[in-house]
Amino acid sequence: MNEIGKPIGATAARAGAFSLLAAVIALLGACAGTKHLEIEGTFPIPLIQKSPVNLGIHLDDALVTYIHTEAIDKKGEWEVSIGPAQQQLFNNLATGVFEGHTFVDGVIAEAPLDGVLRPTITEVQFSLPSQTRSNYYEVWIRYDFQLYDRAGNLVGGWKLPAYGKASKKNYGSASNGLQAAAMAACRDAMAFFSINFSREPVVARWLAAGKPLVPPQPQPQPEQQQPASTPPPDATPDEASSV
C-alpha cells in the first residue's frame, strides 16, 4: 500500500492510462495542426556549356522567405517552406550555367557584371495521392525570371513552370513524400533553366547583340484628369479638330 492507501499497482495503472490518453490527445493534435515542411538536401551543379555572361543575381526577401500554405480537406494545414533553399539552388545553378555570377542587393550592377537576373516564385501548388487518386505526391512551382541590364533597365522576362513528383511507394509519410516532390520540382526548375537559358528569345537576342544597355522602358503615366479627346496644348486648331 502507498501513503494514500491505494494499491501501488492501481496508481501506476491510472498514471499509465493518463499518459496514454495524453499521448493520444497529442497525436490527434499533431494530426489536426499545421504541418511544416522544409526543402532539405543539396543541389547539383549543372554540367553544361557555360553561357558567356557574368550576371548579378538578386534574390529578394519575398523569394528567400517564401512559404506556401495550403489547407487540405481532412489532412489539415500544410506549410511548405521553399524560400530558404533558393540561395543554394541559385548559387549552384549559376556556377554551372554562367561564366561568372555574384549575388547583389538590387537590379543595378557595376562592371564587370553584364546585368542582373531576378527570379521570383509566383505560384506553388501541391497535391497528395488521396486528392488525385494516384500514387504520387506532386508539387508545381512557377518561377518568373526578369533580366536587367547593368543600369537596371528591364531587358525582358520569361516564365518557368517546374514539376516534381514522388511515389508514395517510396515514402512512408506524407511529409517525406511532399518534401521529396518539392525537391524534385526545384531540380526540375534548375534542369529546365540550365538547358534553356541561352535559348530564351529575350536572352538569345541580348547575348547576340553583345549584352548592351537597353533604353529605359517608359514608365506608366498617371491617369490624366482631362478627357482623352482634349487636344494637346500646342496643337494647331486643325490638329485639334481632327482629334
Binding site: 534548375m190 540550365s194 538547358i195
Partner: protein, 218 residues
C-alpha cells in the same frame, strides 16, 4: 519467456515459398573491362504504376556490386547528380537514338569518360499484392491478450531491365525477373508470420542475371 523467444526466432526463420523466373534477350555482345562501371536507374518521365521502387533499384545495385562476378556500380543518385541536368525525369533520354546527340556534348562525354560508364540499366516494374484471404483477431485484456485466426496473401513482383551500351549508344538487351509467392500468418495466441520474400527474390535473381549479362557469361 525462453519459449517465446524461441518461437520468435523460429518465426523469423520461416519463409514462404517463392517461385522466380528470369528471362533475357540479348541484342549485342557485351563485356566489362577494368575501370568500366554501370548504373541502374528507374524510369520517371511520367507517372506510372510500373515505376520501380527506390529500394528495389538500390537492392539491384547493391547485389550487382557484391558477391561473385561483381561489377562496379554507381548509385542512381550519384549518377544523376554527376550528369545533372541530363538524366532528370523531364530531360532523360527515352530511346537510344537520343544518346548520340547527348554524348556529342564535350562536357558530358568527358564526364562519362571520367566515371567509366559502360552500361545504363533502366528498370521498370513493381511488386503488387494480387490476392489475400482469411481473418485474424486480437484481444487485449488487463489479464493478458492473444490473437486467433489465419491470414494469407499473395504478392507478385514483375520487373524488366533494359540495358543500354553507353559506348555504342545501342540497346544491348533486356532482362526480366518475375517472382510470386504466398505468405501466411497463423495465430494461436501468438501470430507467426511466414513471409514469402517475393521482392527480395526478384531483386537477387535480376541482379545475378544482369551481372552475367553485362560480362557476357550467359
Amino acid at each position: 519467456m525462453k519459449r517465446f523467444a524461441l518461437a520468435l526466432t523460429a518465426a523469423t526463420l520461416l519463409n514462404g515459398c517463392v517461385t522466380a523466373t528470369v528471362q533475357q534477350i540479348r541484342q549485342t555482345e557485351t563485356a566489362m573491362a577494368e575501370g568500366d562501371s554501370i548504373v541502374v536507374m528507374g524510369r520517371r518521365n511520367r507517372p506510372s504504376q510500373a515505376e520501380a521502387e527506390l529500394d528495389f533499384i538500390d537492392c539491384v545495385s547493391r547485389n550487382m556490386g557484391s558477391g561473385s562476378g561483381s561489377v562496379a556500380v554507381i548509385s542512381e543518385q550519384a549518377f544523376m547528380d554527376a550528369m545533372f541536368p541530363w538524366f532528370e525525369p523531364r530531360t532523360a533520354p527515352l530511346n537510344t537514338t537520343d544518346l548520340p546527340s547527348l554524348l556529342r556534348q564535350p562536357v558530358l562525354a568527358e564526364r562519362i569518360r571520367e566515371i567509366g560508364l559502360k552500361y545504363l540499366v533502366w528498370l521498370e516494374g513493381s511488386t503488387t499484392r494480387i490476392g489475400q484471404g482469411g481473418s485474424l483477431s486480437c484481444t487485449l485484456t488487463p489479464g493478458g491478450g492473444g490473437c486467433f485466426g489465419f491470414l494469407t496473401w499473395e504478392n507478385d513482383s514483375s520487373y524488366e531491365a533494359l540495358i543500354w551500351d553507353a559506348h555504342t549508344a545501342k540497346t544491348a538487351g533486356r532482362v526480366s525477373s518475375d517472382a510470386a509467392g504466398t505468405s501466411y500468418m497463423p495465430a494461436l495466441v501468438v501470430p507467426i508470420p511466414i513471409i514469402a520474400r517475393v521482392r527480395s527474390s526478384a531483386c537477387v535473381s535480376l541482379a545475378e542475371q544482369l551481372k552475367l549479362f553485362v560480362q557476357n557469361s550467359s
